[in-house]
């Protein structure tokens, strides 16, 4: 199903957050604005707001994750929701239970929101298509497709440092081919109006027809790619890529694509350096840069909390409106058209 239609209700309010694809600038800006408001919550003596009180939010992670799951959990708790952590790992399918059965079981416990991480591209969208009415799905990373809260927390970090997106040159360095983070960042940067989005990597890690498909400029030399950049995003290089035919060695990768003090001179003097973490020091980035004045890497983590609170509260708010609407006596409690259509698939 079309991701815009799936993610927004009839009034254009966010119902699920699965991808930055199909969402227009107004929606993305609303997420950023709302996150701005939540930043102050962390600085209060009582770090809670009651926006999701009485709601059950389940973190359903089919892939291991500590950091992302922890920030989602904390975000839900600050919104006063009850949190379930369901670690399914990779063994659930081995037991023969289908993905839909897993979610039907959780739905039977009256969960209001699923935060889902899954190894398959499109998994979050699939779950949203089949979710019961008044249940929201937030994508915490699916395959190589999308990781939209990471993408938006990066936009939030950029906006806090740079203000407007229009004049910016943003550069993403590393394994774009396998990166759901890169896809969400690129989508968000383009929707928010960044002047230029570049990707830099050896050709083995650049996806097919990237310029046309993603609307980016492709560079294979780091010095060229970061010239005059305002924002430099280093992607994590997964170790397993070294074993295949993608790269010969960590040594050669760092030599050609690692961010060093010398290389960063090509960028604008006030350029910021970002990394979604966890960092491989000495593979993607020199420690002196990761810990240096341009690095905003730790800020990204705290901003992640605000973004996740923003997205969760927006989706729950949309749900509450729909529930109020549905409980009016004149209105029939019909399944949403999304759920009905989803059920006809297959």
């Amino acid at each position: 199903m079309d991701p815009r239609q799936l993610q927004l209700d009839d009034e254009g309010r966010l119902k699920h957050f699965l991808t930055t694809d199909g969402l227009d600038r107004a929606v993305l800006t609303e997420i950023l604005d709302r996150a701005e408001g939540f930043l102050s919550v962390s600085r209060q003596a009582v770090k809670k707001v009651p926006l999701c009180r009485g709601k059950i939010i389940a973190n359903v992670f089919f892939e291991n994750s500590t950091r992302t799951r922890t920030t989602f959990e904390l975000a839900a708790k600050r919104l006063s929701a009850d949190v379930l952590n369901v670690n399914i790992g990779t063994s659930a399918t081995a037991k023969g239970e289908t993905l839909l059965d897993t979610f039907r079981n959780l739905e039977a416990m009256n969960v209001d929101m699923f935060v889902v991480r899954h190894a398959d591209s499109g998994a979050a969208q699939f779950i949203a298509e089949h979710a019961a009415p008044f249940v929201s799905v937030i994508n915490a990373g699916d395959g190589s497709y999308a990781h939209p809260t990471q993408g938006m927390l990066d936009m939030f970090t950029i906006r806090r440092h740079k203000g407007a997106f229009e004049p910016l040159i943003a550069v993403i360095v590393g394994d774009v081919l396998h990166s759901r983070v890169a896809r969400s960042q690129i989508g968000a940067l383009r929707t928010l109006g960044a002047a230029e989005v570049r990707v830099v990597a050896p050709r083995t890690l650049i996806p097919a027809v990237a310029e046309e498909a993603l609307g980016v400029r492709v560079f294979t030399k780091l010095d060229d790619g970061i010239r005059d950049a305002d924002v430099i995003i280093m992607l994590r290089l997964q170790r397993e890529r070294m074993n295949g035919a993608f790269l010969p060695s960590e040594h050669e990768y760092f030599h050609l694509f690692g961010l060093t003090e010398q290389r960063i001179q090509q960028a604008k003097p006030d350029a910021i350096v970002m990394h979604p973490g966890p960092i491989n020091r000495g593979v993607e980035i020199d420690s002196s840069i990761a810990d240096g004045p341009r690095s905003v890497i730790l800020e990204q983590v705290s901003n992640g909390l605000a973004i996740r609170m923003a997205v969760m509260s927006m989706c729950i708010g949309t749900q509450n409106l729909a529930l109020a609407h549905a409980s009016r006596p004149a209105e029939a409690l019909a399944p949403s058209p999304e759920a009905a259509q989803g059920a006809q698939h297959g």
């Binding site: 079309d2 991701p3 993905l99 839909l100 398959d120 499109g122 699939f126 999308a146 097919a208 698939h345």
Partner: protein, 429 residues
């Protein structure tokens, strides 16, 4: 029940093999066509089908339809899928050898033929395995498979990675005048891939299958065909480049033919947006440019057959995140209508289109099906060229409901199908 004698009156009889296209009566007796035009002396049909306004063509011949029996009966059976074939005007179909067990012994081939005879609504020709267990290592007992009724041999879409084994397999098949049906795919390039490597794979973060997966394998197999002189047929081309390579080889006299899955003539990678599992097929849907080149190749005859590439699935096989879904479309019941759509869109004329699903595929098998001739078996399809309809689950006969064509308006629909003179499908107007 079979009427011993039957007349099909006043239909537009269209037989591409014989260049016949005229409104004329057909008279059938004991499963065969006995007269075209005037009835023979003393002919007394038990039934008369009024074919006024209908086209009468040879029953369709489909080179690739998975019936799922034996081994995967939860997806389909010979009974259910041949009933779907009859509803689609298909009277002869080849099932690839990747059943469970594999069709690498006469016993499995005979089991399928026997079951098709007792419960089937269409003729089923089992394609034998090119290698034992389809494992790609040891050639199969092809002489015995031929004895058991296999018209061709194939490794389905399993790899024969060792080029020497492939060469020997083609030579051995040629010894018994068996056509070798090859799926051009370099598995080292395609393994792990899900969709065409291009714009959509990049946007959706799905692993891609490059064009070269097809062209590299095709180049290798064309070289082997040329060297050995074996008759090879390429199953399911999907790229523009492959059609050029094939046409070039044929112009040099290489004995190679090819077909295309009918969905490749209509769908492209764009149909995958939204992670549409019903558009998950192997080989993958490619670009509009590839689709247009495939259409042109079918029109020119470089690709001489159109297949349903029928792959029925149980609902759960498509009800999962895209990478976990099984590839394939349940396609028997839309084959003819989609072929007629090509005519309506001006891609080719009606006679050419029907040739691609009747006599041309029969020629690839070296069998005399797909013709309307005196003495020929009465395998016939009667269809209304102008009836508009929308495929829908309510009137679907295949056990597999996995099709992206539900709800799409199609032109042309089967009214009657006769197999061996027996009415196997009939639908009121």
């Amino acid at each position: 029940m079979a009427e011993r004698q039957l007349t099909i009156a006043n239909g537009r009889v269209l037989d591409p093999a014989n260049g016949l296209d005229q409104v004329i009566d057909l008279h059938l007796s004991n499963g065969r066509i006995v007269a075209i035009g005037t009835a023979p002396e003393g002919f007394e049909p038990q039934r008369l089908i009024d074919a006024t306004g209908l086209v009468v063509c040879p029953g369709l011949v489909d080179l690739c339809a998975r019936l799922r029996e034996p081994g995967l009966e939860h997806k389909g059976t010979i009974e259910s899928e041949t009933a779907a074939a009859a509803a689609g005007g298909i009277t002869t179909l080849c099932c690839p050898p990747d059943t469970a067990p594999v069709i690498d012994t006469p016993a499995v081939a005979q089991l399928i033929r026997r079951r098709a005879k007792t419960r089937g609504q269409a003729r089923v020709l089992p394609v034998g395995a090119l290698t034992k267990g389809l494992a790609g290592q040891q050639i199969s007992e092809m002489a015995a498979l031929r004895e058991a009724g296999c018209p061709a041999v194939s490794n389905a879409d399993r790899p024969i990675r060792n080029t020497r084994v492939k060469r020997r397999a083609l030579e051995y098949a040629a010894t018994f005048d068996l056509t070798s049906i090859l799926h051009p795919a370099d598995h080292d390039l395609s393994d792990g891939g899900l969709v065409h490597e291009g714009r959509v794979s990049t946007q959706l973060g799905l692993p891609g299958i490059p064009e070269a997966a097809e062209t590299v394998a095709l180049a290798r197999d064309l070289a082997l065909a040329e060297q050995t002189g074996a008759r090879v047929h390429f199953r399911g081309l999907s790229t523009a480049r492959a059609t050029e390579m094939l046409a070039e080889a044929r112009s040099r006299g290489v004995a190679a033919s090819a077909d295309v899955s009918v969905h490749q003539l209509f769908l492209t990678e764009d149909d995958l947006y939204g992670f549409n599992a019903n558009a998950h097929v192997i080989p993958p849907l490619r670009t509009p440019k590839d689709r247009d080149a495939l259409r042109a190749a079918v029109a020119s005859g470089a690709i001489s057959a159109i297949c349903s590439d029928h792959r029925p699935h149980e609902p759960d096989a498509k009800l999962a995140p895209f990478p976990q879904t099984r590839p394939g479309i349940s396609a028997l019941e839309t084959l003819l209508s989609l072929v007629l759509e090509l005519v309506a869109e001006g891609v080719m004329d009606l006679g050419t289109a029907l040739a691609r699903v009747t006599c041309n595929p029969a020629d690839i098998l070296n069998r005399a099906f797909g013709r309307i001739e005196i003495g020929a078996r009465a395998d016939l399809c009667l269809f209304d060229l102008n009836e508009r309809w929308r495929p829908a689950p309510e009137h679907w006969l295949s056990q597999g409901r996995n099709t992206p064509f539900f709800g799409r308006e199609l032109r042309g629909r089967v009214r009657y199908t006769l197999s061996n003179g027996r009415l196997v499908y009939e639908r009121g107007s």
